[in-house]
Symmetry: C2
Subunit: 492 residues, 2 copies
Amino acid sequence: MSKELTKRADDYSQWYNELVVKGELADHSAVRGCMVIKPYGYALWENMRDQLDKMFKETGHVNAYFPLFVPKSLFEAEEKNAEGFAKECAIVTHYRLKTDPDNKGKLIVDPEAKLEEELIIRPTSEAIIWNTYKGWIQSYRDLPLLINQWANVVRWEMRTRLFLRTAEFLWQEGHTAHATKEEAVEETVKMLDVYSTFVEEWMAVPVIKGVKTPNERFAGAEDTYCIEALMQDGKALQAGTSHFLGQNFAKAFDVKFSDKNNKLDYVWATSWGVSTRLIGALIMAHSDDEGLILPPRIAPLQVVIVPIYKGEEGKALVDAKATEIMSGLKALGIRVKYDDSDNARPGWKFAEHELKGVPVRIALGMRDLENNVVEIARRDTKEKSTVSLEGLAGHISELLDEIQANIFNRALKFRDENTREANSWEEFIRLLDEKSGFISAHWDGTPETEEKIKQESKATIRCIPLNNKQEDGKCILTGKPSSQRVLFARAY
Amino acid sequence: MSKELTKRADDYSQWYNELVVKGELADHSAVRGCMVIKPYGYALWENMRDQLDKMFKETGHVNAYFPLFVPKSLFEAEEKNAEGFAKECAIVTHYRLKTDPDNKGKLIVDPEAKLEEELIIRPTSEAIIWNTYKGWIQSYRDLPLLINQWANVVRWEMRTRLFLRTAEFLWQEGHTAHATKEEAVEETVKMLDVYSTFVEEWMAVPVIKGVKTPNERFAGAEDTYCIEALMQDGKALQAGTSHFLGQNFAKAFDVKFSDKNNKLDYVWATSWGVSTRLIGALIMAHSDDEGLILPPRIAPLQVVIVPIYKGEEGKALVDAKATEIMSGLKALGIRVKYDDSDNARPGWKFAEHELKGVPVRIALGMRDLENNVVEIARRDTKEKSTVSLEGLAGHISELLDEIQANIFNRALKFRDENTREANSWEEFIRLLDEKSGFISAHWDGTPETEEKIKQESKATIRCIPLNNKQEDGKCILTGKPSSQRVLFARAY
């Protein structure tokens, strides 16, 4: 397969699809809408997962594991939640195959092995988890329950794209139980903060924190908080959500606790999740026409060393120096690889590592060695520099920090340049068509207007930003009074 | 729920079931045969997983993720494998629910959303993975492919038990591809060694390495290597398997590679896995009538500190000392908790931590503090000792190593005492009925005899030990000549 990528300017969507596959992050599978996460993509996910897991544990959460299956009777218990996911559920109806009597060597579903009750493959786990919590919670002493789960979930999407929207995806889902509404709301906001810290500081993607409108809420939530990021094509992407679930699930599953005064009340709940979709956001926020650009803090490889030499003797010299450099870098905890494979020329390797977004490349040539220097290329700016071997590891370590900051700042600048105000319907449409981006505009607060705006512009309200400035204005569509601007965009 | 356990001697099976639940490792769920792994059990699994993952990476493997679903046509491609799993498959047939017209608020499977091809929930992933490898392997340069996956799998077992046999369980499955038979066999044995090292050195469970008889092979394998452990009730438990798959899957999915001479050949394969079943083995190998006994290296908590005090002032003194001890222990990487909850007396806490198998308990009392000592109790022997606060952390660190070694040695001694030779059918049956255990005996090498022995004694051939001593003998059942003893046991 050619490593040449479609240019972003020519076809952004095609560029993305090619990059995921050629960058060896993921591949399509034989199962409709399901992806294979390849080793390089999975190593990226592991780094993201490990950091998130650490942050969850630091905020007092523990992991557990709940069943993949939700019996239909539990699934339908919280009606709004059930309604929200009913149309995209994979359903297990049988538990056995048998030999096809008409077709030697083939199998058919055994009609005699039909389940009494169908099992839904979890699209999200509130139902099975709250049914379990019922047995775990009796008194205020059992609260709060701060549990997270790393799992696969299935949502039968009709149009799928690698990482962004797949039938099966990997995610984490936090499910917490609290004695008071205040504590549950506090938890919801705290986890939103964990997400924004992670996405900004580790993935180098700036986000807007906000609250969804009722139309865009998670099915079964009282409030959905979100972080929204802007992609390079001017479309927004919801990068994570944290839901205040009120007492909805406690009521659906009859989960009550006795407080300090022995009064019974329903438990308050939150849930929050991020998924492999984040990898899609990462790719679209930073990468360029040459390939991936990965932030050093989560890049599977931070540094690659490419040797340039002639003959066996030259190789031995370069090998020795590479080993020395590697051990210096590893001592600082830097993830480094020595790419001395003999089946490709240096130029081909350079292109390959650019495609895969390795933040720093060190070219190690014979002449450089004589001068006690190496050539360093950074992936984010493509700048090259000649650097002394003296103090190299320290220099690279600082450079990785600088790259991390630069990628974030570049994305932030892009977002700022692509966040504008619209004060009339004409301006709103013109801005959207010109260059898309976030558009801050007044809205009359009704679901009907929101829906009409969506129909006519394909833009949705991404969120009502937290700590939003209050100002009088008129709805861009209806002209009715409004007290604050909300954030619109076309979105993934 | 009472924390009192059934005694092992009274009902071993009941003791096990109670211990899993009361020790808060896992719980039954609303889904038939599926368990909830509770936070304490999951923390144990995380420690096991992280160590195994490290060992896989150190031996050159990388992780990836493949779909949960296997289309039926792929599932049936390798006939023996398909036949082996066909009778215990969860099958997805539909992808949508709809409102039940006859039952407000209820949902039914939408008959119009029937899948064209049924999807099997992976009971193991050879089929989906080898179908994927077909696209990844062209030349010897693409080999070896050394990939592991951490995932959930589903096998619709009729009789289930927490950890030991559940419809859904967590596991890892390695799937490697090689250019030669020799290399694949070498990989199979290497991974068996990784498993035995892990189970012996981390879980403190001694194992016998061996090869399964053809009858007991993994469906689709040419050879199945295994590690077998002995439980305290004298029954054996298969703790991990590593399969040499020959070219079976490469042929079923047409995966060929061109070698250095441009000659096409089918790829050679291995697969290997361990699962949450290991937790069952861990419990049954070490624990006693008071509760769990966990080896320090994988115990979620290695040390618990219980304060004993009177009054606020006493509490402050003890707290200060506990903080000091904690930081000393943490500096050595020891997992420690200060259990200063005020809703239980020390005696209750002691019993609770014994039940949960915390290797070392430190009781911190007022009088002890005056004497600059603490009382230490080790879970494995229940010995108590008074130890100076001076150098406490170092002492505890050594004690944890000693406990790890003691638990292993105790299990090894038990296994040795319960491994015996039988030289006649009468002796075989008598030994089995007396105290079970491993029985080393001659067998004529035929599947028919093996099956007959199983029918009549309920004992199976656990394995033919690696590097088995060759000796002439006569089959205990048929009297036919045999060249080696094999290992029999009744098994989980």
